[in-house]
């Protein structure tokens, strides 16, 4: 009969509101050309606020869902996600922009199914790994979810959305790793994946992106442009930043300044202190998510809470690492902050689920009992013991 973890809601609220502020900051400078098209200084801001309001509804809705219901929904959700992912490729429903088909038409806006796929995958994996017959040291057990992941990967890469594919792979591997899957399976799969990754990176623009992060200054006007601009934004922010709304880099120097690279603009306007606050907020969210997972007695709930925490934290980490040039550049939004409705809605719904779990009252709602869990753990230890 615990209360939900109020830190989760406070941190989420802070991130979302700060995000709205940054969306206004990065999109309020309207060029005359855009202005004549009806884009006002509040155009993006209004849409973002609207999304946030819907996001809160989603959060509330998800909060009311019992984990047992979510568990039942694991397979249907996976199917819905795959259908949506296929719809992207159907003309009149799918929306293409910038050479990629990532969205489906959804009045009055668009929806990006790959965001939903991540959450569906987390729920599916949590369900799968909590099945009584789940054997972490069985190759067949390991290969089934990997196969599903690969199917999704192919669809997502077809869009193409390299960033989403990578983050889905990270997420799946992380969860499988946590479930105790034999390391040799994971390692050998990664080795097998290398030729595929290499083949994908042979696409010239991706190869350039990948190599340019090592030294973006080599070609600051070409392949290193975005990263150099990101560095300049962060660097000119210094310790305290240039002040809210005073970013120069957002004036179309830094591409994607209101989506994938919004973190750099935060750095420019609020300085090292500002970005530190953002990182700390994500860190709190991660720790609180993990502690909610640890409260869980049910394996499904444990994996679900861990998966959601990882989904958000890994994406944030990758986004930070991209903006600071620690990993190759790929397009991934910063959860709760970047402009883009799908990511915001899915992440807020995920936090809703996490909030419910954080109440720590799942044990009576699921059939597993403490004894059963303990018995299974003991059994596994013996297996390991024998093996060793």
């Amino acid at each position: 009969m615990g209360r939900y973890d109020k830190w989760l809601i406070i941190v989420t609220l802070l991130l979302v509101l700060f995000g709205a502020l940054m969306i206004y900051s990065t999109t309020s400078v309207v060029t005359p050309v855009l202005a004549k098209k009806g884009v006002t200084e509040f155009y993006y801001f209004k849409r973002h606020i609207f999304t946030i309001l819907i996001g809160f509804c989603f959060m509330l809705l998800a909060y009311t869902l019992k984990p047992s219901f979510i568990k039942k929904m694991a397979i249907p959700l996976l199917i819905i996600s795959s259908v949506l992912l296929i719809l992207v490729f159907i003309p009149d429903i799918g929306v293409a922009a910038g050479g990629a088909k990532r969205w489906i038409r959804l009045w009055p806006s668009t929806f990006q199914p790959s965001e939903l796929v991540k959450l569906s995958m987390v729920i599916f994996l949590a369900w799968y790994m909590s099945l009584p017959g789940y054997k972490p040291d069985n190759f067949l057990t390991f290969i089934k979810p990997v196969f599903i992941m690969i199917v999704f990967q192919i669809a997502i890469l077809k869009q193409p959305d390299f960033g989403a594919a990578i983050s889905l792979a990270f997420l799946t591997f992380a969860m499988l790793f946590l479930s105790g899957i034999r390391l040799r399976y994971l390692v050998s799969l990664m080795v097998l994946a290398i030729p595929f990754v290499l083949k994908l990176t042979m696409e010239p623009y991706r190869l350039r992106r990948i190599t340019s992060f090592l030294n973006p200054w080599e070609d600051p006007r070409g392949s290193g442009f975005q990263l150099v601009q990101s560095f300049i934004a962060l660097g000119s922010g210094g310790l305290t930043g240039v002040g809210i709304g005073s970013s120069k880099q957002k004036l179309s120097y830094l591409p994607e300044s209101h989506t994938d690279f919004i973190f750099s603009i935060i750095g420019e306007e609020f300085g090292f202190i500002g970005v530190s606050v953002i990182i700390v907020l994500f860190l709190i969210l991660f720790i609180k998510g993990i502690s909610a997972a640890n409260k869980a007695r049910d394996r499904f709930v444990y994996y679900l809470a861990t998966g959601i925490s990882l989904m958000i934290s890994l994406q944030a980490l990758i986004n930070f690492a991209v903006a600071t040039g620690m990993v190759p550049t790929k397009g991934l939004p910063l959860p709760f902050i970047s402009y883009g409705g799908s990511s915001l809605l899915v992440n807020m719904a995920a936090v809703g689920i996490l909030l419910n779990i954080s109440k720590g009252e799942d044990e009576r709602k699921v059939p597993d009992t403490d004894k059963e869990i303990l018995a299974r753990r003991r059994a596994r230890r013996t297996v390991y013991g024998i093996k060793r």
């Binding site: 060029t31 992380a174 946590l178 300049i232 860190l283 600071t324």
Partner: protein
């Protein structure tokens, strides 16, 4: 569930967050200065735009060159969506072919000019089209309100306000805005967000010695002469013979400096200083002055020219009209070639050369306009047998019209070689005179006595029995000399039988000279003689100029206060 793995994994995640921290500290604190500098470099654009070049005024403060604030259209190729309909519309508004516009838009990059310096009305129409990826930047356009008037003096600038010709080029360093730099804050597309205070900086203004009214008179009369004689080209210069101030300087053909792009090279040539011609009889003044100064002759010395021809170095040179025994004065008055050669032979090579050099032949006058040539007279050791005869009548020697005008100014002002100039003052934007050119470089080259005596002779040229009668002006006495010279045909390298240069050079009023004027008509058709072709042009110019300047008439029968009849 695997607790051990969970602990390892979660620790790894938290460590990654700290790695990001360290990286950010490196970028934002330790590299702060370096990256801020980079940011400033790309945010602030230093444009070498001559937004407010100095203005150019005539001696009475009339504007000859000023600046218009216009807008230039650029394209941001990254945001520009290729749309044939848009391009066609745009093309019709800025009166260009669609292909031309397409060729100006590169496939990549963020900035490319489409059309510079559009008229406000055109810019507004383009703006109404509302094409994504197009934008405007304000730019100043140099504007010459007098158009063709004085185009060879004022000159022109290019699209980036870079000096091309004339005063604009010669005085570029003064006309340019201080530092020549304008600061713009800009976004990646080059859109100007704010501009530094330097946009208000102004160049120095120039005040010229020319007078718009006199310039108009000269140009109008040149136009008439070109039309009347179907001449190839023409030049006229009006100068103050005492100070060397150029009051008017014009050439035909001319061009409109507002449209330098369509001007041809002959139109842009400032023939008054960049073209040499063999002067012909007007050169006899140099021979005459030298002879008087050397006391070889006096005005009454007699010359027997009754043969009508003279043989020099095996070549026979004839007079146009046959004369009997005439005085030195009459040699000049009637422009006798034979008499002139006789004087030249008396003087000898060395003295002819010495006086030519003294009077500025073969040397630049030093006028403050670009492109002046020095002309030439060969040193005596290079003269052939016939040279002394040819040079005595003004062939085999090349001069610019300005050089010739300066020679006559020496006679007019009593023996001083002036330095022609066209800028009288350079004035800073706040009104301080930076430089002033009055009374500079004036040296005596001949005695006053010689000058006065020769002036009397030149008066006779325009008087009864002279070759320049048609240059005489009602009410004021003119002193001057006609010239008709042959042109060397570049193909045959011999003197052409059809092509001549007709000229008249003189000053007025003869005894109190206010204006020294030279009129040179290149290749007139029908008539060739300077007395017929160029002298009437001189008269028309002088007549109107004197009444504009309110110079009282000298004649007894017209001594009423100046009545301006022939404005």
């Amino acid at each position: 569930m695997n607790r051990k793995r969970a602990i390892i994994f979660n620790t790894a995640i938290i460590c990654s967050f700290f790695l990001v921290f360290l990286r950010l500290a490196d970028l934002m604190i330790f590299n702060h200065e370096r990256l801020s500098e980079k940011a400033e470099q790309q945010h602030i654009k230093i444009e070498d735009m001559q937004v407010r070049r100095g203005m150019i005024f005539d001696r009475r403060g009339r504007e000859f060159a000023l600046n218009l604030e216009l807008e230039s259209l650029y394209c941001d190729p990254e945001n520009f969506l290729y749309n044939k309909e848009d391009i066609t519309k745009l093309a019709s508004i800025i009166s260009k072919e669609p292909e031309v516009i397409i060729s100006k838009i590169p496939g990549e990059g963020r900035f490319a000019w489409v059309e510079r310096k559009l008229e406000p009305v055109t810019a507004e129409r383009v703006r109404k089209l509302d094409i994504k990826g197009l934008g405007f930047v304000p730019e100043a356009k140099r504007f010459y309100p007098k158009e063709e008037l004085a185009s060879h003096i004022i000159g022109a600038v290019g699209i980036d306000n870079q000096a091309l010709e004339g005063i604009e080029l010669k005085y570029d360093k003064y006309l340019k805005t201080a530092g020549g730099k304008v600061f713009f804050g800009r976004d990646a597309a080059g859109r100007i967000l704010s501009s530094g205070v330097d946009i208000e900086s102004k160049g120095n203004n120039l005040v010229l010695t020319i007078d718009e009214v006199l310039q108009r008179i000269v140009e109008k009369e040149l136009d008439k002469a070109i039309l009347k004689w179907r001449a190839k080209a023409a030049t006229a210069i009006m100068m103050d013979p005492f100070t060397g101030e150029i009051l008017a300087l014009a050439n035909r053909p001319a061009y409109n400096p507002n449209r330098t792009g369509v001007a041809s090279n002959p139109e842009k040539r400032n023939r008054a200083i960049t073209d040499c011609y063999e002067p012909g009889s007007t050169f006899k003044t140099i021979i005459g002055v030298a002879a008087l100064e050397e006391k070889i002759v006096n005005p009454d010395t007699l010359f027997d020219v009754s043969e009508g021809s003279i043989k020099v170095g095996g070549k026979v040179i004839r007079d146009v009209h046959k004369n009997e025994i005439i005085t030195f004065m009459e040699v000049i008055q009637k422009s006798s070639n034979v008499g002139s050669i006789m004087i030249g032979l008396k003087l000898g090579k060395d003295r002819i050369y010495k006086y030519s050099k003294l009077l500025g032949i073969g040397e630049k006058t030093g006028i403050d306009l670009p492109g002046e040539v020095s002309g030439w007279i060969h040193p005596p050791e290079r003269w052939s047998g016939t040279s002394i005869g040819a040079i005595s009548i003004g062939q085999e020697v090349a001069m610019t019209p300005l050089q010739m005008l300066r020679v006559y100014s020496v006679v007019a002002n009593g023996g001083f070689l002036v330095r022609p100039h066209i800028v009288s003052e350079i004035v800073s934007p706040d009104g301080n005179v930076i430089m002033s050119f009055e009374g500079k470089d004036i040296n005596r080259v001949i005695s006053e006595k010689t000058a006065v005596r020769f002036k009397e002779i030149l008066k006779r040229v325009v008087g009864e029995g002279g070759t320049g009668r048609s240059a005489s002006v009602n009410g004021n006495e003119v002193a001057g000399k006609t010239g008709t010279a042959q042109i060397v045909n570049p193909e045959t390298r011999r003197y052409s039988k059809e092509k001549y240069v007709s000229s008249f050079v003189g000053f007025i009023p003869a005894d109190n000279p206010k204006l020294a004027i030279i009129v040179v008509i290149y290749e007139p058709k029908g008539q060739i003689y300077g007395g017929v072709v160029a002298a009437p042009v001189f008269r028309e110019i002088a007549n109107q100029a004197l009444s504009y300047l309110n110079v009282p008439m000298e004649d007894d029968f017209l001594q009423k206060p100046a009545i301006l009849v022939s404005r």
